[in-house]
Symmetry: D2
């Protein structure tokens, strides 16, 4: 009800309406915008080692936080346009992943889901 | 406190620990994984018109919802690793955008921020 | 022999060596850089209609051309690092696609390959 | 004239025409498709260390080669639709980068262009 995502969603709706931007916010366009922001996030990390990526300066961390915020905001906006319950979908996806990647089998191994699916077929 | 993102974060932490996957969840890797999921989201929309993108079938909508969930889950996971408050960053970003794009000036116009910055410089 | 991609590859190798940048050019990093450039390309098109996207101004076209160049350059650089023959792979992929999407069956229909694969299974 | 990219371009044009797919190949859509393929490329590398990313198995290398081919093919297709000379743009971009990143200044340092631009402004 007073959940953080709901509050952000309401603000974004008002923001778009005040600017008459709803006409641009088709799902196709929002997906592109979300992916564009993801590109900006990648650029912050592309030349860092994995270790460096875990020890960002305060300044860098703020910049990265804003890129992540942009992604979240477009995600919320897209969910509103498509009438998708993002939290419900996330909970379902966690449940699916729990079945797809049983802890006992995948411990310490992060291969792609596709690789596991191939494996499953091989074992039949 | 009992916010939806906090609950998802707690579940994801436990999920990673049970699988000994924290070793793979460096910020650099999580950013790549998030971007990979964004690619999957794009693929659902690439050949649709803007109009079609707003009228997905129920089946397609569920698939799209799960891709969006994947993005959200990696975003939460990344925020946890970097100790970033995603909601606070999103609220700050909305405030920044309100200044960067004054409703009176940008009504009905969705050019890129860069274009506005050029414009601002031209008007000086 | 004097193919354009070979010439670009030689220039990029020299460019990286003169700057001692080979240490950063691991395949993982180059893939991220390539994806970052793809994000920049997306940003040019995200608010355009499909029709507008086909009628760019000269200025915009030049900017888009440079983003595409960045993607090509990272692609060439990555192929060099992985010892992959990009042109051979492209020719093979065209041959694979010709089998996967027979003209007689897919005329005027651009669904995803996955959808066709599901279809193929259904018809068995 | 008989350059590899020209040959691929001609094949792709014919491929699209035989399937009546030119209607889907608007620049906006092709950019999305290109970005979708980039996402698939990322997925191959997201859990690999930088070292592992440089020593792929033969099987993995072939898969990665095909993802790279997909990106190249969409890049060529997009260049054709926009009437952009990809090789000329790439050569220009190398020349621009040579000025933007003087070897003497950036040796062994791969910060983002933006960081260098800030630096340049600071030094004025």
């Amino acid at each position: 009800m007073t959940d953080s995502l709901d509050q952000l969603n309401a603000q974004l709706l008002q923001f778009a309406r005040e600017r008459d931007w709803e006409q641009f916010h088709t799902p196709k366009n929002l997906v592109m915008a979300l992916a564009g922001e993801t590109g900006e996030l990648l650029e912050h990390f592309q030349w860092l080692t994995e270790t460096q990526s875990a020890t960002l300066s305060d300044d860098k961390k703020q910049q990265v936080g804003y890129e992540m915020a942009d992604i979240l905001l477009y995600l919320i906006r897209l969910a509103e346009r498509l009438d998708i319950d993002l939290i419900a979908a996330a909970n379902e996806k966690i449940a699916i992943n729990a079945i797809r990647y049983p802890a006992a089998k995948v411990r310490g191994d992060a291969r792609r889901a596709d690789d596991y699916r191939s494996y499953a077929v091989d074992q039949k």
